[in-house]
């Protein structure tokens, strides 16, 4: 069973809802960052929602994904709970990683979401490995790696694709070509016209699709998934999209103009899909308003949940290094306990 069936109108409405949810989550995260409530780096997904939602809709709950530093959209599309995501961004114990990961490392292994990743290009080898598990266990599951256009210049992604292609692993490599790696345009980082040409070297199918069109992304991933579970190996998909915000929050963006952004906003993936649904008579304006209100309320609640959640205590810094704890770390943890700086372990 795919996560969302985009063949029926309920599924299409759900896809729209998730795109709205991502946008609301990320614009709220941007505000919280500006207010100083979120430490560290935050990379927002606004503008690229059709890629995550179109792709994850075509996956099964049991399928794996690996994500990137720009991972909030992938999480929401895969069905993670915005409350625990927001709690993680705020460094709270109730966050997905108990506050140890933050924006760049949100993960939910139980939901087969193998983590956002702070290292550009590190996800594809992990996805190849998860696909190897699927093949090894002879299960109808796949692993999909999201990666940026910048990541296509990383050696390890090519090793991963070659491995997956050679072993016919049930993997999908989905490049989010948002036309920049940090501040450097894609043309200055690659010598090919379309990044999907990469596929040719590995003798696997490669497509470039419109990443502002949720249906196009969905169909491409659906095909790729079919191929993968049929034992025919991986597919390489490039989705052309655009990020509206800076590379990270606070990016002065000297590499582009406001007009550049506005040009892409004309083709906004949420507006375009909404219009389609309205034109088809599947969605009334009033229903759209309800949907928006519902999404806003959900994110508001997520923020409230995150704000009220407990901070971790200093002792927790010593947890989770190993499955089988080591005396070295116990010793450091004991030192903290005996000098009384620790909070109440709960």
């Amino acid at each position: 069973m795919t996560l969302i069936s985009m063949k029926d109108s309920d599924g299409r409405e759900e896809a729209l809802r998730r795109m709205l949810l991502i946008r609301e989550f990320d614009s709220t995260a941007g505000d919280l960052f500006a207010d100083g409530d979120i430490p560290g780096f935050v990379h927002l997904y606004i503008g690229e929602e059709a890629v995550a939602v179109g792709a994850c809709a075509a996956l099964d709950e049991e399928d794996f994904i690996t994500s990137t530093h720009r991972g909030h959209g992938h999480c929401i599309a895969k069905g993670l709970d915005p409350r625990r995501m927001m709690a993680e961004l705020l460094g709270k114990r109730d966050g997905y990683c108990n506050g140890k990961g933050g924006s760049m490392h949100i993960a939910d292994v139980d939901a087969n979401m193998l983590g956002a990743n702070g290292i550009v290009g590190a996800g594809p080898p992990l996805a190849a490995g998860a696909a190897l598990t699927c093949q090894y266990h002879d299960e109808d599951r796949v692993a999909l790696a999201f990666l940026g256009d910048g990541a296509v210049a990383q050696g390890q992604i090519h090793e991963a694709i070659n491995l997956a292609a050679t072993w016919d692993l049930p993997a999908v490599f989905l490049v989010e070509n948002n036309h920049f790696g940090e501040g450097t345009p894609v043309e200055e980082q690659h010598n090919v016209e379309n990044l999907s040409e990469t596929a040719e070297s590995y003798n696997i199918p490669g497509f470039t699709v419109d990443g502002m069109d949720v249906t196009a992304v969905n169909e491409a991933v659906e095909e790729a998934r079919k191929r993968a579970i049929a034992g025919d190996g991986p597919t390489f998909i490039e989705a052309e999209t655009y990020r509206y915000r800076g590379h990270f929050e606070g990016d002065p963006q000297p590499y582009r103009t406001e007009e550049d952004v506005e040009r892409w906003q004309q083709r906004d993936p949420i507006d375009a899909f909404t219009e389609q649904l309205i034109d088809r008579g599947e969605l009334a304006e009033s229903e759209l308003d309800d949907l928006r209100a519902e999404v806003e309320a959900e994110i508001e609640e997520a923020v409230e949940f995150a704000r009220e959640a407990d901070e971790p205590t200093p002792e927790e810094a010593y947890d989770d290094m190993f499955g089988e704890p080591v005396p070295e770390i116990e010793r450091f943890a004991n030192a903290l306990r005996t000098d009384g700086r620790g909070g109440d372990p709960q």
């Binding site: 794996f64 690996t66 966050g95 997905y96 990683c97 108990n98 506050g99 140890k100 990961g101 490392h105 993960a107 939910d108 292994v109 139980d110 087969n112 193998l114 983590g115 990743n117 702070g118 290292i119 590190a122 594809p124 080898p125 992990l126 996805a127 190849a128 490995g129 998860a130 696909a131 190897l132 598990t133 699927c134 090894y136 266990h137 692993a143 050696g155 390890q156 090793e159 991963a160 070659n162 491995l163 050679t166 947890d319 989770d320 290094m321 190993f322 499955g323 089988e324 080591v326 005396p327 070295e328």
Partner: protein, 335 residues
């Protein structure tokens, strides 16, 4: 930690080489758990460049003894992804000098995933790799970089010094849900010794083994230098009573067994083939100084590679790769 014996006590044994002991551990663990599989360059049909996996491909097939392309970043990374998603890979990296090629997946994925995810990822991966000079393989195939991995948070690192330790530690490594680096010294593959045959025998990670009791000086040795130190101890018998401890586990490190020993002898030589500065030696020294300062009767001594790479030509290589003579001189410095 050190009070627990290896499990179960090694009643029935068989003489085998380190190579055979490692192979036996792989075989037993593959029999015990279907999720255990081996992958690496030429580990399959070829049997491994040091013939460690010889015969396993025929027995277990190409899915469980899997040849990889020459892509250390790719297949170590795939091992990490496989471990996080429900299998138990044993990844062979032909020479430890190549670990840097997979550095990113080791440092930022394998070592950090469990912690970054708040404890919600398991990482049951074992990395087997070879170390050490002495075969004229020159600098890029003779290094002993195990300190890096013992130092890096989130990894465990073991260095067996006997065939028995090789079998017991590899089995523990494979069963562990933590990433464990298993460092095989290349010159030890032919070394033989008694090895427990009971498939439930394991050597716990984090426990040193006293290989020879003595009262005058403790030699804490690793890998090949365990055997060399035992020979030196035999030679010196009657003159100096040498205790030899196989450190076995670099991280976690068995401070207790070392402390017990130094309380008895008051003197210690640390012999490990890694470069001397900033290494395993220094860690042992620190712990002894922190915990057993008032038990020390003489300056502690380090034996290792003198901070050079391992050169090709035999006279040059002999100069820098430590051996029993270096251990003997160090002992004479302190007794």
């Amino acid at each position: 930690m050190s009070t627990q014996p290896d499990t179960p006590s090694a009643d029935s044994t068989e003489s085998m080489t380190v190579r055979e002991a490692i192979r036996a551990a792989l075989r037993e663990e593959m029999d015990r758990d279907e999720d255990v599989f081996v992958m690496g360059e030429d580990v399959g049909n070829y049997g491994g460049v040091f013939e460690v996996t010889d015969g396993l491909y025929e027995e277990y097939g190409d899915e469980r003894v899997r040849d990889t392309p020459i892509s250390e970043a790719g297949f170590v990374g795939a091992g990490v992804g496989a471990a996080a998603s429900g299998t138990r890979p044993v990844v062979e990296v032909m020479f430890s000098d190549f670990l840097g090629v997979a550095g990113e997946q080791i440092m930022n994925q394998m070592a950090k995933m469990r912690y970054m995810f708040g404890g919600k990822a398991e990482m049951p991966i074992t990395v087997r790799t070879t170390e050490g000079g002495g075969m004229g393989a020159a600098s890029q195939h003779s290094g002993t970089p195990h300190t890096w991995f013992a130092h890096f948070p989130g990894l465990k690192a073991v260095t067996p010094g006997t065939p028995k330790a090789a079998k017991g530690l590899l089995k523990s490594a494979i069963r562990s849900n933590d990433p464990v680096f298993f460092f095989e010294n290349k010159l030890m593959y032919e070394q033989d010794g008694e090895v427990p045959t009971d498939p439930s025998y394991t050597a716990p990670i984090g426990e040193a083994a006293v290989e020879r009791e003595g009262s005058d000086v403790t030699v804490v040795a690793t890998q090949r230098l365990v055997g060399e130190s035992l020979s030196v101890a035999d030679d010196l018998a009657g003159e100096v009573d040498v205790e030899v401890v196989d450190l076995r586990s670099l991280y976690p490190l068995d401070t207790e067994t070392l402390a017990d020993s130094i309380r008895k002898t008051g003197r210690m030589v640390i012999a490990d083939e890694s470069p001397v500065s900033y290494g395993v030696h220094a860690e042992v020294v620190s712990r002894m100084v922190e915990d057993e300062f008032f038990s020390l009767d003489a300056p502690l001594q380090r034996v290792g590679v003198p901070d050079t790479h391992v050169p090709f030509s035999t006279p040059l290589e002999d100069e820098v790769v430590p051996d029993g003579d270096d251990v003997r001189s160090a002992i004479h410095q302190v007794v």
